[in-house]
Amino acid sequence: MSGFDDWYLYGEGLARSLVAVAPEFGSTMFAQVMNSITSSGQSGFEEGRWHRVFKGYVYHGPEGGDNHYQREPPAGVAHEDILDASVMLSDQLIRELDHFIAKVETAAAGESVQMHQKDGQAVTFQATGDELARLQALAEMLRNTRAACQQNYNQAVMFRVHTDLMQLLQSAITESGGSPKAIVDLVRAGAAMVIDLRWQAAADARLTALFYVQTRLCELALEELDSNQIGDHEVVRLASMMIAGLRGAPNPEHVLTQSVIDFSRAGLGNLVLNLCDETLSFAEREVEAALNATDLLTHSGHLYSAAHIAFAGMSLAEGFREHVAQDARPDKATDSLLEGYATSAEEIVVRTGHALVINCINRATSAALNLHINQVRLAREEGGLDKAQMRADTLINDFYFYPHYYAKTLMGEPT
């Protein structure tokens, strides 16, 4: 790292990489990227084996070729022969965060610390003036992120929000007679608490997606009041069930799925479908904004936002499919649409989570960037300019690793 700002942004990047999707996902991605960098292109996965990652299964073929990702367990492969990538790749990112927190805390106390520049050279750094206050704030943020990585953290947040909202619910019923708008405002208030945590890197995509979806479903239901598709009582009932469901739930995905099922059973499946569409488009716009960014901070900010929005879209579509499977007659066309929404959203989730790790590592060392420049150079040697451009295009548009303005850098051209 070359200076205070890079160091600060690296810390923020570490925190966001961990919670962009979920801590175990961030850790897996971080370990995979670090292994790629340190072992000249090795992925960190065992070749010729299936690995359990995130919500699916990855097969890594020999020499980095023939890779597959699928949601269903691979046919003909025994359960015990599938490696758990999140366990195998350990908690490297969390250890890196712990190491970094210790450094930041030392520096925030005004003591000198050793830090590395992008060329790997160690320099002594001592914060002064405004830097001290910024480091103290960073240390606090990182400690909150560390707490967000603990097991049962999401359950604890949901319980806290539930407790706060139940008190407000009592007042809303007493003061306004429990109007639909008043109750929906409570759902919004719960979401605001979690969005606040999200921007402090203390809420992962699973938790944020839950409150985002609940708020939008309630808002869409409010709009339906005018068309008489739904009555006041029904909106109040659905919103209250959302608040009540936060208590004792095993995880945010469970509550989200239950909300989707409740809406579908109330005859509001069309709202869920509309929200799938709206959410996927929103996530795509965030990705587009990230790729059109003119600096890496804006790039990572939009990707971070896209991660939880896409997670919401994926969970909505999956939750609705579950409802269809449980309650309704199978409708091939709807099921196919839902699969499309879920798949597209999931790919955005995976890609944004991966790209944020790359963005973060590049803050510290440019090691990932150098690896990618080398990949483009090799592509040029193998297949000329077209092949090199194709590789650079893939790194930007398919993987979201860099904004468009990095194309020349990746091609090794002067910027």
Partner: protein
């Protein structure tokens, strides 16, 4: 491949990339190969040109007559075969259709051309709706038309 068709295909690839999962057969793998995305873009362009050619045959004879063949579920089936690597695209065929459409359009007036473009776009939109949400199908069909027109009129001035 001619440079103009190459540029058009690359332009459309950016739009197809966002929609590629709708063309993947249910239950098949994620993260479609970037090369396949370009192939789907070529197929969509090829279908548009082919529709324009069929449409022009009709409209030159009788203006306003329903143009183009019904694409229906054929597109969905074909695109799914491509994303499953069960079918390859004949790039030369796409280019031939583009050239032929270009030549035919020289014989057609602006009104005839617009009618055909409208009809082929509508048919493409309906065909895409077989596999993807309506709003997305509409946007993609419009983009295919836009890019195809650029190829056809590159040397003839604006449409």
């Amino acid at each position: 491949m001619s440079t103009q068709l190459q540029v058009a295909q690359a332009e459309l690839t950016a739009d197809v990339r966002r929609e590629i999962n709708w063309f993947v057969p249910p239950g098949e793998k994620h993260f479609v190969n970037p090369g396949t995305i370009g192939t789907v873009a070529a197929v969509l362009l090829g279908m548009f040109f082919s529709g324009v050619l069929d449409g022009l045959k009709d409209t030159v004879k009788e203006e306003g007559k329903k143009a183009g063949k019904a694409l229906g579920k054929k597109i969905a089936t074909r695109l799914r075969a491509i994303t499953s690597n069960k079918e390859e695209v004949n790039q030369a065929e796409v280019e031939q259709d583009a050239e032929a459409a270009k030549a035919k359009l020289q014989a057609a007036n602006q009104t005839q051309a617009t009618i055909v473009f409208d009809q082929v776009e509508a048919e493409l939109r309906m065909a895409l709706q077989e596999v993807m949400p309506e709003s997305r199908a509409g946007k993609l069909a419009t983009r295919v038309r836009h890019v195809a027109i650029k190829v056809v009129y590159e040397t003839q001035g604006a449409s």
